[in-house]
């Protein structure tokens, strides 16, 4: 028997040059193409990306469900696949799609999971956390999709993990349940649980994550805190095309990008450019209808990253006209 894993300081997960290839020969497909990561204890780390960006393939590796085709990987200082008997008791994993027997009740399902864990809490404790106590005796197959998702989360929590992997934890949840799940994850974070989550909801990543990575085509395209990621990105001013020549400001004007008959300016000097624009409009007595000025958001960064293959040189930043 191997002893319990020491929860030492240092990264909970550390990966370098991580790769994963499916298939061999001509049909081989590389889903993960050299990923470097360090995830610290107590950190909430969000993995974003379009469908097929390699998020789930990466999670499979970190969880020890698949073996990397190249690269270094340590979870709690151990190989998550080879040493899974020592790593797993510390992990809770929630896969992207279900995996609960339809014929068991919620409580029976949780008791089954509980019996497989080294250090479980009670079924009632996790049912309370996901707000499903009153559904305990209902068959899993009779639950709504959102409720099933919460049972799935309860299964991941019953072993009292120190590291939680959540693959789209709130997909299919109604807005109220989503907020409840956020509150729960926030509680877990305060208990010091490290979390790696993927999501399609950018507001979820903004609300929960300490650091965010945006994956694209098997690589990490952006990595950092929300502020760091958004910081280097231009703000946008947009309004309905007034049909007259536009003033020269710090960024390039584009038309049609923000909608038909709209013109937009991407700028790193939002306040200055907006001030100049409004002065220019006032001088001409122009009303800029539909005027919007937006700070860069995670969404705008995400869309820029995701559109890289369509328009390779799409970054008209900073060059004054």
């Amino acid at each position: 028997m191997s002893g319990p894993v020491e929860l030492a300081a240092g990264p909970v997960i550390s990966a370098a040059g991580l790769r994963r290839t499916y298939g061999t020969g001509a049909s081989a497909f590389e889903a993960v193409r050299g990923i470097d990561l360090d995830i610290r204890a107590g950190e909430v780390f969000a993995l974003l990306g379009t469908n097929g960006a390699g998020k789930t393939s990466t999670l499979d590796l970190l969880e020890g469900l698949a073996i990397p085709s190249a690269g270094e990987l340590a979870v709690f200082g151990l190989d998550p696949h080879a040493d899974r008997r020592r790593v797993r008791p510390l992990c809770g994993i929630m896969l992207q799609s279900g995996g609960l027997p339809a014929e068991l009740t919620v409580r029976e399902t949780l008791e089954m999971w509980r019996g497989t864990c080294s250090n479980p809490t009670t079924a009632d404790a996790v049912l309370d956390r996901v707000n499903l106590r009153e559904r305990a005796d209902v068959r899993v197959g009779a639950l709504s999709g959102g409720e099933q998702r919460r049972v799935d989360l309860a299964c991941a929590l019953i072993g009292q993990p120190r590291l939680l992997f959540l693959d789209e934890p709130t997909t299919g949840l109604d807005p109220e349940s989503r907020r409840a799940t956020w509150r729960l994850l926030d509680e877990l974070k305060r208990d010091g649980v490290t979390m790696v989550l993927t999501t399609h909801y950018l507001d979820e990543a903004e609300a929960l994550a300490d650091r965010i990575s945006i994956m694209h085509r098997g690589e990490i395209a952006r990595l950092g805190t929300l502020r760091e990621i958004v910081g280097g990105h231009p703000a946008e001013i947009a309004f309905d095309d007034p049909g007259v020549p536009l003033p020269a400001l710090s960024g390039d004007w584009t038309s049609g990008a923000a909608g038909a008959d709209r013109v937009a300016l991407r700028t790193h000097r939002l306040q200055d450019d907006l001030h100049a624009l409004l002065g220019w409009a006032a001088d001409r007595g122009l009303a800029l209808s539909g005027l919007q000025a937006r700070h860069p958001s995670l969404e705008s960064v995400f869309l820029t990253v995701a559109s890289v293959d369509e328009t390779p040189a799409d970054d008209p930043i900073g060059a004054p006209a």
């Binding site: 969880e63 469900l65 008997r85 797993r88 008791p89 992990c91 994993i93 896969l95 799609s97 279900g98 995996g99 609960l100 027997p101 339809a102 014929e103 068991l104 029976e108 399902t109 008791e111 089954m112 999971w113 509980r114 019996g115 497989t116 864990c117 080294s118 250090n119 479980p120 809490t121 009670t122 404790a125 309370d128 956390r129 299964c155 929590l157 072993g159 009292q160 509680e187 877990l188 305060r190 208990d191 649980v193």
Partner: protein
């Protein structure tokens, strides 16, 4: 609320993954009317009904008991063990349960053993009921009960492995009705009274099918009839029966190896590949 996770509420709790998983399988088995019917009425009811019909008012003969026991074995191993494991493992895979369980602390062996437990338990229970009814009503006791018990145990292992291999090409529980046919047919052919009416060349092949070995051991153990011996051949004593176990044991060994190889090569945890 926050304190709940900080202090483990685990006093007095031991970790028993196989027990927890097998318990869950039992609950699901019990709720599956088809499996429940196939697991009880077939293997227990059919052999007993025929046993009591065939014996009439006469005293039961060793051969009659051997046929009853063989019939129990074929139903128990095929309809209870093979079919239930096939159906349950296939359902668990298509529900994503196998993949989900692999994210936890259970070992692969525990995850795959659990669906076999209800069938094993039901087979053992059925064996006790059938044996109790047959021997309790004056059926002659077996020459060598060890061989019969061994045959049943080996059969449970082999047919569990064959079920895992078969589930690889079974999309869902309904498809199991079709995909189970090859193993079902190959096994039925191994029943003693079917081999007796096969043309010689086919019978020679049928002797090496998995259920043929089990059938041989049951006839040998119950009635002292050597493998291949006609129904009215001279019967062997306890010690002599061991000398006739060569072919059936070799057959079981070969099929165990085949079943392990097939299960290892073909088995999939996940429908996606």
């Amino acid at each position: 609320m926050t304190a709940a996770t900080a202090t483990p509420a685990t006093v007095g709790y031991g970790r028993h993954p196989l027990r927890a998983l097998a318990h869950a399988e039992f609950l699901q088995f019990r709720r599956n009317k088809t499996l429940l019917f196939m697991g009880s009425v077939f293997p227990i009811g059919t052999p007993l009904l025929l046993f009591f019909l065939a014996r009439g008012d006469a005293a039961p003969k060793p051969l009659g008991v051997a046929i009853t026991m063989e019939m129990f074995a074929v139903f128990a191993l095929l309809f209870v063990q093979y079919y239930s494991v096939l159906s349950m493992v296939t359902t668990r895979r298509s529900e994503g349960v196998l993949k989900r369980l692999r994210t936890g602390e259970s070992s692969d062996l525990q995850i795959l053993t659990a669906p076999a437990v209800p069938g094993v338990a039901l087979t053992l229970l059925g064996a006790v009921i059938v044996a109790g009814a047959v021997y309790g009503s004056g059926g002659p006791l077996p020459v060598n009960a060890l061989l019969m018990i061994f045959a049943l145990a080996a059969g449970l292992v082999i047919f569990t492995l064959l079920a895992l291999a078969t589930s690889a090409m079974t999309k869902n529980a309904e498809a199991a009705q079709i995909t189970s046919m090859p193993v079902m047919v190959i096994s039925m052919v191994g029943m003693a009274n079917i081999r007796q009416i096969l043309p010689d060349r086919l019978a020679l092949i049928a002797d090496w099918t998995p259920f043929a070995a089990i059938s041989d051991l049951i006839r040998l153990g119950q009635a002292g009839l050597a493998p291949g011996a006609p129904d009215d051949a001279a019967t062997l004593g306890f010690a002599a029966t061991f000398g006739e176990t060569g072919r059936p044991l070799a057959t079981l060994a070969v099929w165990t190896v085949i079943a392990v190889i097939l299960a290892k090569r073909w088995f999939r945890w996940d429908d996606r590949g």
